[in-house]
Symmetry: C2
Amino acid sequence: MPSYTAPVRDMEFVLYELLDIGQHADLPGFEDATPDLVSAILQEGAKITQEVFQPLNRSGDEEGCQWNDGAVTTPKGFKEAYQTYIEGGWNGLTADPAYGGQGMPYVLGLAISEMMVSANQSLAMYPGLTHGAIEAIHKHACDELKAAYLPKMISGEWTGTMNLTEPHCGTDLGLMRTKAVPAEDGSYRITGTKIFISAGEQDITSNIIHLVLAKIPGGPKGIKGVSLFLVPKFRLDENGEPGEHNGVSCGSIEKKMGIHGNATCVLNYDDAVGYLVGEEHKGMRAMFTMMNAARLGVGLQGLCASEVSYQNAVTYARDRLQGRALSGPKAPDKPADPIIVHPDIRRMLMTARAFNEGARAVAYWAGLQVDLAERSDNKETRQAAEDLLGILTPVIKAFFTDMGYYNATNAQQVYGGHGYIREWGMEQFVRDARIAQIYEGANGIQALDLVGRKLAANGGRAVRLLLATIQGFIDDNKDNEKLKEFTGPLSEALTRLQQATMWLMQNAMTAPDNAGAASMDYLYLMGHAALAFSWAQIAKVAHEKLAAGQGDAAFYSNKLITGRYYVERMLPDTVAHLAKLETGAHTMMALDADAF
Amino acid sequence: MPSYTAPVRDMEFVLYELLDIGQHADLPGFEDATPDLVSAILQEGAKITQEVFQPLNRSGDEEGCQWNDGAVTTPKGFKEAYQTYIEGGWNGLTADPAYGGQGMPYVLGLAISEMMVSANQSLAMYPGLTHGAIEAIHKHACDELKAAYLPKMISGEWTGTMNLTEPHCGTDLGLMRTKAVPAEDGSYRITGTKIFISAGEQDITSNIIHLVLAKIPGGPKGIKGVSLFLVPKFRLDENGEPGEHNGVSCGSIEKKMGIHGNATCVLNYDDAVGYLVGEEHKGMRAMFTMMNAARLGVGLQGLCASEVSYQNAVTYARDRLQGRALSGPKAPDKPADPIIVHPDIRRMLMTARAFNEGARAVAYWAGLQVDLAERSDNKETRQAAEDLLGILTPVIKAFFTDMGYYNATNAQQVYGGHGYIREWGMEQFVRDARIAQIYEGANGIQALDLVGRKLAANGGRAVRLLLATIQGFIDDNKDNEKLKEFTGPLSEALTRLQQATMWLMQNAMTAPDNAGAASMDYLYLMGHAALAFSWAQIAKVAHEKLAAGQGDAAFYSNKLITGRYYVERMLPDTVAHLAKLETGAHTMMALDADAF
């Protein structure tokens, strides 16, 4: 059976030694986030995720969710685990204190999320989706709705969902058919069918708060006529408690490749009472709030899949005896050497490790931008943070989830034939990891968002900031000889990213297909530049700590080893991405659609 | 529900226009393989695989194999489909006429195998494993065993299996514990436990012929003391019919990620009567016969997964309306354009297509070497064919199955959220494709076989032949201006492969870990060189046919388009593989095993 150990030491390293979140003590919530308190929270988070979440991961997959006449039964133990989680106050960790939250930094919440998803992705999705819904309501709903719904969503007493997709309409939300007809009391009556609603029905909380996109008849056509509504499963009675069942029901749940512990629902809305969130026809704006946070969260799932599958691959690689090292026996007293002596096994392990540690640094860096964007009182700081976050989000979503799936597949490969057998749990990591590449905007959509929207927004301000930030680091450390092995390759990767950016500016305006054709390679180029940037910064800290003789020397030495693996063995992919990108769209678009 | 259409036209193109198998009419079996007959066989093969095999693919996955007290029930319809297959005489298509086979070229059998696996991988594995067993018995067993077993295995009345793995021993067969004790009558008594035995038990034939590796007590230690035995499920009575149940039983079957229609069995041997195949302690030699054929077959499974999932992704991409083309609406009369207009969708489709057509050419080229090696009366021809086959087999096994999984994953991605839902069938392709990277020697083992064994064998004769063959084509066509867009990149890819080969010669002897560290990148370099070589040859034929105004011009023009995509958008990966390879083993091996 697989296990999970939260990488608390590495999380502390990123939060304190790398990002130095202590420097932001002037921000609300950060003043309390002392190293001692953060460490205590991380330790407690490790405990609940390792002891309560993780043991239900395999059984949740095997048992799955069951649908019966509209009701969904979650796997054994999920309800109790969720209860333990909310009773510990975890659900409101980073939420607004005005509604019962603890107001801690978002970036700390991200670390706790990482633990939860690594331990049990299906179970972690219930609070994960709730957080997205909380944010949309918090930012866009009127005070009355906020007062009525936020406290119990923040406490975790109720969960939330996102309802976008319909059978004929996924990416292209302009095709939406679900209707919202205004009622006399100011509310709306929602009618239509939504599909792929994660946690759309469950038996773990007393109410479910659906956020639903729908069109108000007579409004603008297409995407500009979409509004956002809050539709509770049970309408609230005069005491604010769940009362009458609203006109929403779960028609069925999907049989899926993975995440069996979280029901993917068809929700039928039939004259359900809904309340407008934000303005009429401005639903996409509110939904994007939810989606951006969700996309960062989904990107994190890629890291989680990679981390937990890596850990279990390491365990197996140390235990499994098979063959002898090419350089001579390493365990001569045993019938064979552990397979961790074999270079190709290490290639798979080191690739995951180098990704995990670099990706954690990138993800938390992005998470810190959420805090800066929302909590800083300096306008320039907020804008810079929003810019960085906006451009990094699609990269993290797509690059991280592709890598998560890739590394989970490699971790399964380390197990040989046993990796294909369900009871070993490795194939579940692969099946669960797969969804993250698809939901919250398929990865191709992220790439299009990057090159088609984020890159051009505000005259390219965000990409200029990202490039300048990385270049600034290189310049600042140009005399640091020890760091050259990192800043050199970083500089080359940055040059490739700049060259690709230039290519897009020169070629995509006149022929838009060039943007689409370049999008995924461009996204990977940016992902690698971000990872290489993090690794160079990590190496700098490691060298400083080693020079100062501070702390655990092995920890910092291993950082340098792992970082070297990244720049030597992974970063060269950027050469291929640039070469492909610069060939343009013509080979991709030449074939007649009928000729495929 | 997914569908499958056998790519008969492309198979004919490869067999006749590209490989020109007609030039080998002097070989046994080839004289009868006229284009008319070959086409008729391909057409009939298409019919049975599309109409009989494919419709059972989804239901076979959902139902799976059931184990009950030692007996295995295959999914509904499998027995009848298999019966139809053997009644059509398909099982003996390429087998020795002396034992009832039809003696047709192996390469034609490969095309039929491609259809069978594409249509239904689980069902196709039953005859697939039988063919491996037939070959081992045919090459290594005594005449008595051959006469007793081959006719009914070739007719398909009985199936065959391969028994290598034990719980503690997979790759490292020297650790084997299963024992074979000589009996007075010249037979042996086999005792031990074998695991991961595909089709080890089933209800579709009246007997199952197990080929089992075991150690004769007192023999040499390790791998040199392993012998091969034939162990029938039912011992034959005096009429050669299945009689008394032998001492072999199916203890359980595995719950797996995929290939649910084929039981993966634990087989318990308890004093089972077995017959020596080949010489005592020379079991590995016989087993390698079986494994090499099996590895080519497994490599083919990568192509099959890619082909069938590609076909279904194309169907969906043409049907699904979502968004508008970046270059302006393509279906203005519809609410949205079909998603095949989007470049990133085409990236995934074209990558699969360019792989499929190139890989088919490489696989059949390797298949033709099997024919030349076995049927030519010219010793040099046989040796050259064996050399090429030996070096191409691990490349095809690992590179093709990695690409098969990658392309199946991308095909699933084209479906967006629907790809994750079981009923659409795309996620099954991914789950089924996954096993091919693992069984018959995990892909890392293939890479080690390539750099550790095949490369150095006979003083590097095989790799020199491969390099010279490709260089010869480039030289022969150096004045062909039209072909430069293919021969140019091919020449660069070849140079990289040569450089990598040189690097290995210079660095792997002194530090063996460099061989292991380089192995997978080297394998990919060779795989790409082989594919680029095939594409250059395909392009040459296409240009010739277009110039001569022969046949379907669109077919040949599309070949050029697809080939261009390959060289521009896929071949650049070779730059990264070489760069990584040349960094050596140090970053991979530096971390202490305890520090992971």
